[in-house]
Amino acid sequence: MKISYAHAPVPVRDDVIAAHAVAWERIANPGTWFDGATRVAIAAETRNAPHCALCARRQQALSPFGIDGRHDSLGTLPERMVEQIHRIATDPGRLTRKWYEQVLASGTPETEYVEIVGVVVTVVSLDTFCRALGIPAHPLPAPIPGAPLRRRPATARQRGEAWVPMIHPKDLEGELETPEERKLAKYWGGGLANIRRALSLVPEEAYAWFQLVETQYLPGKAMRDFANEYRAITHAQIELIAGRVSVLNQCFY
């Protein structure tokens, strides 16, 4: 399925269209830990989350952790995955480490957890873009057959920094076992913010996610190049929008 913005009320930048096409195709393709059908099911469940009565009750509660029940799901994924998808989609500002550990204890490996995050945020991002422009969300792509890679990078470790294990840039300086690590090492090229490392337990998700981010936001070097402007809105206007969205999401990172 090709992404098109021909029906948008305003012309969309070609690089954004291309990045969205790549992101959408990635959802349909086998990933590192899930096949294409499961990834598309994760995408569908992400879109279903706002219609979940349990999630609505939790959002209205002082604490989401005192509200039990079953999610209104599409019925294709196990409840442990639905819990992760729905909570990240509907109430991300109140996630805790204890909740994360409960998700793992319910049977989701940390590798799969990270890949689920990658799919959820891709869908959230493209759907938010469509809503912002006033156009319908893109139909989900048809799954593409194939087996997932099932390759965990040896360099990803739990160092007590984040909930999830991550790759540290220094670990990518030596001989690397996998093509995914080599690709990430070339892209990172030294020290970097934790947000770029967050999904690195699944290097392909980390790489792909930031390809999308840099297209929609700014390429790395442009972010702090305040002497030049790269978009139709200024650095200040960009950061104002970014900051406001993060306040609304109660994100303290």
Binding site: V10, P11, R13, V16, I88, P92, G93, R94, L95, T96, R97, K98, Y100, V117, V121, T122, V124, S125, L126, T128, F129, R131, A132, L133, G134, G160, E161, A162, W163, V164, M166, A193, R197, A198, W209, V213, Q216, Y217, R224, F226, A227, R231, A232, I233, T234, A236, Q237, E239, L240, I241, A242, G243, R244, V245, V247, N249, Q250, C251, F252, Y253
Partner: protein, 127 residues
């Protein structure tokens, strides 16, 4: 980053705009862009239509696309940060401590029983 931009430009942006203060905060169309972010993340479609039309009229179509792309990015990137438990880098925590306290942003972490500033951590991970 907004503060860095403000310092670099020497234009003294009012960062209280982030938390709902009125006015443009010395940023051109600041109030309109805040309204746009609010409307996209909100549920009032008519309000979103109005704000979208205002951006097209006052700032142009390309500005609407770029503003939409930023909302789309950060509505998702916040979820990456929140669901992976990444900490704020020490250097960034130090340089933004005052503004985070002033704007009440640390309360987002405290409400979750977590620590906003990694320099306050007794164990390294956010809990």
């Amino acid at each position: 980053m907004l503060r860095e931009s403000s310092n670099a430009k020497g234009e003294g942006y009012d960062l209280n705009l982030l938390t709902g203060a009125g006015g443009d905060g010395n940023i051109p169309h600041g109030a309109l862009l805040v309204s746009f972010a609010d409307a996209v993340l909100g549920t009032d479609n008519r309000r979103l239509d109005d704000v979208r039309a205002a951006i097209r009229s006052r700032m142009g179509d390309a500005a609407l696309v770029d503003a939409a792309a930023i909302v789309a990015t950060f509505n998702a990137i916040d979820r990456v940060a929140d669901s992976t438990g990444i900490p704020i880098e020490d250097a960034r925590a130090a340089s933004t401590a005052d503004i985070r306290a002033a704007l009440g942003i640390n309360q987002f972490a405290e409400a979750r029983g977590e620590i906003a500033d990694p320099r306050d951590r007794t164990d390294i991970a956010r809990r």
